[in-house]
Amino acid sequence: MKHVLMLAVSAAALGLGAGAAYAECGISAGSVRILSNDFEALRTINTTAEECASDTVKVTANATAEHKNIQVPALTINPAEYTVAMVANNSIVPLMNDDLIRPLDDLVAKYGQDLQPSQLVKIDGKVMAIAFMGNGQHLFYRKDVLEKAGVQPPKSYDDVLAAAKAIKDAGIMEYPLAASVKPGWDLAAEFVNDYLGTGAEFFAPGSAELAIDNENGLKVLEVMRAMTQYMDPDYLTFDANEIQKEYEAGNVAIMNEWGSLAGAILDDEGAADGVVENTVLAAAPTIGGGTVPAAALWWDGFTIAKNISDEDAEASFQAMMHGISPDMMMAHKDVATWLIKGYEPGPAAVGVIDNANAGARPYPMQPYMGLLHTALSTELAEFMAGSEDAEQALADVKAAYDVAAKQAGFLQ
């Protein structure tokens, strides 16, 4: 029976191309329980980490889009329901706020020989998370459509708007632009992207006081509204997945879309003729005379729960090191923009790398950023629908944020 199991595990490992059997993880005993978001790169890491399972080591993984809602309660109980929580810039914050994850310095020293210094997320000098991939929204455009309309590839939002006008006037497309501006998380992320591009800060230094009610905020809203005149009238119902479909159907010439979806867009499935071969990935445009791409840079990484035994923590760290090993990355190069040693960006990673090289800023990690994101997600809806002016929208965001921040104890 054991032979059969070994054979199956090795076969699975070979089939995945990772070329590693469980013996390589070097874990003596422990339980590894992974909680992660649900997309291909993370699923790949989960499956690779699961190869570490043996008679004495149990590895389970739960990949779910609801991870943000369950991570805090699941890690609060003792022992925690999950030993590993995969997080990003924003979702690490609630775990930090409630002190639910442990510093990893000793584990990094012991097992982190494959890690690069840039992968370590350090807070107050302590390594709290290990990042393994980057992500962000950037431009996807159709070079054939731009050529036909006689415009150069856009570098700034002014270029994007000019290109959209040229495409529309030439009668090539009725709605050449797309962006994920569905009220909710997507709309707020769009504002955050653009505001980061202005170079300004969201909060007054050293406090939770909101500081977006200024000419930068107005400029961002002006651009966001100007874009909508070249978008499908249903734009308020379009999230990132929806604009991906519209783009693949050949209805859109220029869009701002997640780098993690580039692989799915560039593959030979689901796209209309001429879309894939004419798609160019580039850094997000600059905004209002700014110099950096108007896009937030995101990292995805893993954290280890605090409320678990040291043995489980060690086993979890080792299993995750196997999950994000250079071997795994080499076998799945095109799945993500990896931060792992030895990675050479493929065609799907160009956009995110361009963003990073052009100096795009990371999504803020302040403890109250989530409250601002929620306030933006509801209060900008009316502005985007055209039933409110920009000053009122910014005032509403500030009012909603102030109420929430007082409730949460960040503002007195």
Partner: protein, 343 residues
């Protein structure tokens, strides 16, 4: 029945009601009176893969946990949460009433407050959908009742379909049908000869779509109850009405409707309660930009990166108060009828 036996009979359900209805409500009320402790913040150096290191504020988890241990519920805030901008917004209402440019301005600015925006759509949904759905249900019941026996079964089954389908799925189906690529959306564009017409883009059309969905999904419940009620209409009375020369319309007006009136009160009660917590169609139709409801506000507080329990609790309590106010006329009427019968 002796009191003791009576209590023995109802005790299990009483216990269940206290455990599953009363206690959670008490807990929500208590929660709505508290907000989080003031966070103890510290400046720390923060390094991440992009952007290098920067000095930022962090929550001092240990100090905050100490506060939490002293007062686990949080900081007492009294009714503060109820009066803030996210809820009843008394301060903001005061300012609007003092400095406005006429009724239209008041209306727009009140609609800009999240609670009132949600409340207004919720009330419109309640008072438009409930009577229309009841009328639709009654109409179907009358029609089905007049059918020959063989066809009744399948037709009843089809009429019940909207109720069987999960509300979220039902609203998604209608949403897709109304999209410009969908059969209804494309037909509407063709009929009005306007290729840019989109039900999802304008607030008015979105409201109409949501209300139509509400009537569609609520109709079957009224239908089932009224159809059952129709089976109890005394045949003698109907026959004598016919002998007196009453037309079908007059029989409905003077015999059937009065007979079904107590049932109608019951249906109205249930449907008002149901419609007051309208939620699924807003999510299904992606209508957050144009229409929100009280339940949606609660959902919005609890989802996202940070959960706001106090705020959600306050909205929940206000929703319960709303249901009580809404139902009071019907409840008072039922109570009076009950007392009349006893006397």
């Amino acid at each position: 029945m002796p009191h003791k036996t009576f209590f023995a009979f109802v005790m299990p359900s009483l216990i269940a009601m206290v455990l599953f209805i009363a206690l959670p409500i008490v807990s929500v009320v208590v929660q709505s009176l508290y907000v989080a402790h003031d966070r103890v913040m510290v400046q720390v150096e923060n390094c991440q893969p992009f952007g290098g290191c920067s000095t930022e504020l962090r929550v001092d988890a240990a100090a905050t946990a100490e506060l939490q241990a002293e007062q686990p519920l949080g900081k007492f805030n009294g009714l503060g949460t109820y009066f803030n901008r996210a809820h009843l917004a008394f301060d903001e209402l005061g300012v609007i009433l003092q400095t406005n440019r006429g009724l239209g301005d008041i209306w727009n600015r009140v609609l800009n407050l999240p609670f009132y925006k949600g409340l207004i759509f919720t009330l419109v949904y309640c008072f438009v959908v409930t009577p229309l759905a009841m009328a639709l249900g009654f109409g179907i019941a009358l029609a089905v009742n007049a059918l020959p026996k063989v066809t009744k079964g399948p037709i009843i089954f089809f009429s019940l379909l909207p109720m069987i389908i999960t509300p979220l799925v039902g609203s998604l189906i209608l949403y897709w049908m109304l999209s410009p690529n969908g059969i209804l959306g494309a037909t509407i564009q063709h009929l009005f000869n306007d290729p840019t017409l989109s039900l999802r883009a304008s607030p008015g059309l979105t409201w109409i779509a949501l209300l139509l969905y509400g009537v569609w999904t609520n109709g079957p419940f009224s239908f089932v109850v009224f159809y059952a009620g129709l089976q109890t209409v005394p045949a003698d009375t109907l026959e004598s009405a016919m002998i007196d020369g009453a037309s079908r319309w007059e029989r409905i007006r003077y015999v059937i409707v009065p007979h079904l009136m107590p049932l109608a009160t019951f249906v109205a009660l249930v449907q008002l309660m149901d419609n007051f917590r309208v939620f699924e169609p807003i999510v299904g139709f992606s209508a957050e930009a144009n229409a929100t409801s009280l339940s949606w506000l609660i959902f919005n507080d609890l989802s996202g990166d940070t959960q706001q329990f106090g705020s959600a609790g306050a909205t929940s309590v206000l929703t319960i108060i709303g249901v009580v106010i809404l139902l009071s006329p019907v409840l008072v009427r039922t109570w009076r009828e009950f007392k009349l019968k006893v006397v």
